[in-house]
Symmetry: C2
Subunit: 555 residues, 2 copies
């Protein structure tokens, strides 16, 4: 038996949907040469990560082993797979490989962060294979809701592993390569040790529908529309953007792209050659000269993002364009769980403007980019892996996917972030548990999710903040009265007097009674003042605020 082993480790994406980051290694334990598949982000929310700009996987484990990393491979250009590439480049400094469209997006990100664009290298799809240490890696085309999505065919001395990336089985995806069952069968022929597989839609019981199925419905809808038509979808769904634009063109409408991401994605798709014959585009500033019934806007903001084009249009004029009664707004998208309130806010704002909103509830104007349960079964039927390791899913998805694999006679391994799987033997085993987590990009700084910074923000948001200032003279006697500044707290409480006044009076009393020993001891002083504020506030307003005490000693 060999001393070397083949390992799989998720640092993000297994046990959550978002911030995908997977590592494969081959070599002696602790000496494996490593490759990284995807470096994605997740998005913050007010409940768990207020003020945070982006959530990155904690890559400390990789950074400590930087000299062992051969390469980073990016399966496709969705933010949850590519978003951390530029933010982690300084720490990893490994070459990044991607196909043209994905590389185009990655290079834009590198440029934005002031990194060399040529750190991203453009590769061709299978049968090309790249050598990365002990690995030979190929990009095997697979259909998804973005062009050029690819599975990774990872060959090691221990055999072939396929990392599916995000996928659906679409034989008519309109833009990008159709799913090619024959090619997949051929690649799988030598035997596949493990399929590391997208699990997002494992609970969806019916086979997925093709991107091509929405075109006729969208065309019908746009043809029947009387006023201006505005449609939103994920900008990266280039096929959908094209379908929408063509539906507009067919109905004699001029196409306007609005929102930075929308323009950037179409640009990247044209530059990289995945998109040709896109309808002619009119600039927003020229739209006002065109009758509204001859206009179709394609806008960002399908998830209700406050600053995106759709939200801005729902609040009034955006880039000189305004929605009016009788216009139509189409969500050619689904709402990701957690974004419902933002989307509903926009729908209601449009309703107030008299705009008719059509969403995905009929199922006619959107299809998912992920493989449903029968599609997962079809793919494993073609690949015939010995082992299925579900990824790209919350725990419930991974667990269900393991059950599905086992029901179909394969070995399923439930490995969440941090569980290193040894794939060398006949049966996969959990070799190690690695500490994983989240890193917050906060403004321009990266902070650990558990550093306490965000916890303090949440506390201030829930409880308000009281700042107490006390000055002590050179004999440790209070100089004047303690002073309170309140933020995020009601002005008055049960006694109907100013809360600040009541707090200051109680603090003054406490200070007056405090002995010399307490006054000399910063800790005791802080603790006593803090306790007084919290007790008084509880009596007055029924809650205990966060308290910061500033003691200034003139000694």
């Amino acid at each position: 038996m060999s001393n070397e082993r083949l390992i799989y480790l998720a640092l993000g994406g297994a046990g959550e949907i978002g911030m995908n980051c997977y590592v494969y290694g081959y070599g002696r334990p602790g000496k494996e040469r490593l490759i990284v598949v995807d470096l994605g982000v997740a998005f913050p929310d007010m409940e768990t990560s207020p003020g945070v700009d982006l959530i990155l996987p904690d890559i400390s484990w990789l950074v400590e082993r930087r000299d062992r990393i051969e390469a980073v491979f990016i399966t496709h250009a969705h933010e949850d797979h590519i978003g951390a590439v530029a933010h982690t480049y300084d720490q990893l400094r490994a070459p990044i490989y991607a196909r043209p469209f994905t590389a185009n997006i990655a290079q834009r990100k590198m440029e934005e962060q002031g990194h060399p664009e040529d750190a991203v290298q453009v590769v061709s799809p299978w049968p090309q294979q790249l050598t990365a240490g002990p690995f030979s890696v190929g990009f095997l085309p697979i259909s998804h809701s973005i062009p050029e999505s690819s599975a990774m065919v990872i060959d090691s001395p221990d055999g072939r592993v396929i990392h599916s990336g995000d996928f659906k089985l679409d034989e008519t995806p309109l833009v990008g390569e159709p799913f090619d069952a024959e090619l997949w069968a051929e690649v799988s022929k030598p035997g596949v040790k493990a399929l590391i597989c997208d699990s997002t839609n494992v609970f969806s019981q019916h086979a997925g529908r093709s991107e091509a199925s929405v075109g006729p419905e969208i065309t019908k809808l746009v043809e029947q529309a009387k006023g201006m038509v505005v449609a939103t979808t994920f900008a990266s769904n280039v096929a959908r953007v094209k379908t929408l634009a063509e539906a507009g063109e067919r109905a004699g409408r001029s196409i306007v792209l609005m929102g930075r991401a929308m323009k950037r994605m179409v640009e990247a798709a044209v530059e990289s050659g995945v998109l040709s014959d896109f309808p002619r585009i009119v600039q927003p500033e020229d739209a006002k000269d065109i009758p509204r019934e001859n206009l179709m806007l394609l806008v960002t903001g399908s998830q209700g993002e406050r600053r995106a084009a759709s939200a801005q249009l729902s609040r009034g004029k955006y880039q000189g364009v305004e929605m009016k009664e009788g216009d139509l707004f189409l969500f050619s998208s689904k709402t990701i769980p957690g974004n419902e309130k933002g989307v509903i806010r926009i729908i209601n704002a449009f309703s107030e403007q008299g705009v008719d909103v059509v969403d995905d509830s009929t199922g006619l104007y959107h299809v998912s980019g992920h493989a449903n349960r029968p599609d997962l079964e079809r793919l494993t039927g073609i690949v015939k892996p010995q082992v299925v390791i579900p990824m790209h899913g919350e725990h419930r998805h991974l667990r269900e996917h393991v059950k599905l694999a086992e029901r179909n006679g394969m070995t399923g391994v439930l490995a969440v972030n941090g569980m290193m799987v040894d794939l060398s033997g006949n049966q996969p085993t959990i070799a190690e548990y690695i500490e994983t987590g989240r890193t917050y990009l906060d403004g321009t700084v990266q902070i650990g999710a558990l550093d306490g910074v965000v916890r303090d923000r949440i506390r201030m948001a829930l409880n308000g903040h009281v700042v107490v200032t006390v000055i002590l003279d050179d004999e440790d006697e209070p100089l004047g009265e303690p002073w309170c500044e309140l933020m995020g707290l009601p002005e008055t409480g049960s006694s109907r007097a100013s809360l600040a006044d009541v707090l200051e009076a109680d603090l003054g009393q406490w200070l007056a009674r405090a002995g010399a020993k307490t006054l000399r001891d910063d800790d005791k002083l802080h603790e006593g003042l803090k306790r007084t504020v919290r007790q008084t506030a509880l009596d007055e307003i029924g809650r205990k605020p966060e308290v910061t005490v500033v003691v200034s000693r003139l000694s």
Copy 2:
């Protein structure tokens, strides 16, 4: 033509789902005698109202006209209809009328807030009518997802108006009165001027299903379960709680109720006589002596609430009970938009415990309590009102409901919160626009939603908080260095030094350069120090924090 008029005014619930509060008036303009239908709450969220306990309608308009209020009528005991009764009692002091179950819940709320329980008076359903000034008001039974839900039949010298309350058309609701089409036809016979109507499910295209339809499916599920079964639903859905309990009993399981609301609702239902022959209940402390395959827990927390029983069970032991691999958890409920993340968090936690979770995605284990589109049409077909005024809906629901009414030959009026409708003439008109809004119950204090308190909390959560302390001596010269306290901010920024140190250095420099005029002027000092912090922070960490400046003058 009469000098008197009949008015309708929503103070909450029209243009939103939640905090229902409707006013009807009759009399000379500005002198109308008033009745209030429902006093409900809405629930806060981290995004818009962090730290807030409950959201109440702003009832200032009513409080200013307190002497003209004849009575408050509560249609049913859901929080969005009854939740503000006790919190507004001090300000309104009007008698409150409700049917026995609803009154029982209202009385508990009054007691909790230290108000007299007998302010809530128990009434009988139609044909009893209560006189309230110029009005004669009856409680007309209608089915909903809570017992004793009632429409209000409001007779005035200007004719009969029906306020639907929340409803569905269920002829087999299991607990509470079935929908009685004949009774409704009879009540409507004299002619109905206006139907003020629930709009929640106007977008649901198929006729609603009966509460009775879920029993057989739940029974089948529970019978097949191997381990312990835990089910959650809205505690107020007494029929569902009973169905669940009976399914458990039939499968030879002992029933345990967990969570305060669950026990309170069953208690209220028994006390008020709407619930009889409920299966025998076992106390949580006795559950540990019963084999888990013979247990069924009915628990609170169908919406993922962090402190409810379901969330606690997902995190570990609760009241001595723990979930284990092979147990079943059933959501006999739908997730209200906005609560998805909390519910998903629980499902994943159960998945980690090896618990199988069944939710409503199949449609088998839950039915809605609201009338769908065909049901709305059926009811207007029976009532034949001249006018339909949609309520209990967001703007999109109201707008769609108006369209539906007009398509069916009635006059539809889109009246959101604050639009007073004059129903006297042949055609309803908008008589006035009243300022409406939200009041936050924050701890024990009521604050206006626009008072700035919550805005400050959100700002601290998004931006962090810096407190700057400066002491000036009696000649307005800085005494020592300025001092910074940081909360919710990274410790270090781009210069890799402590952020507090960098801020203090820059503040010290600014102070040293500040002229005597600035040092004497509190406003200038505040502004300069604040600007310095924000600029330095922007350079260091890429964001501008909230800043509080405390200047202490020893003069």
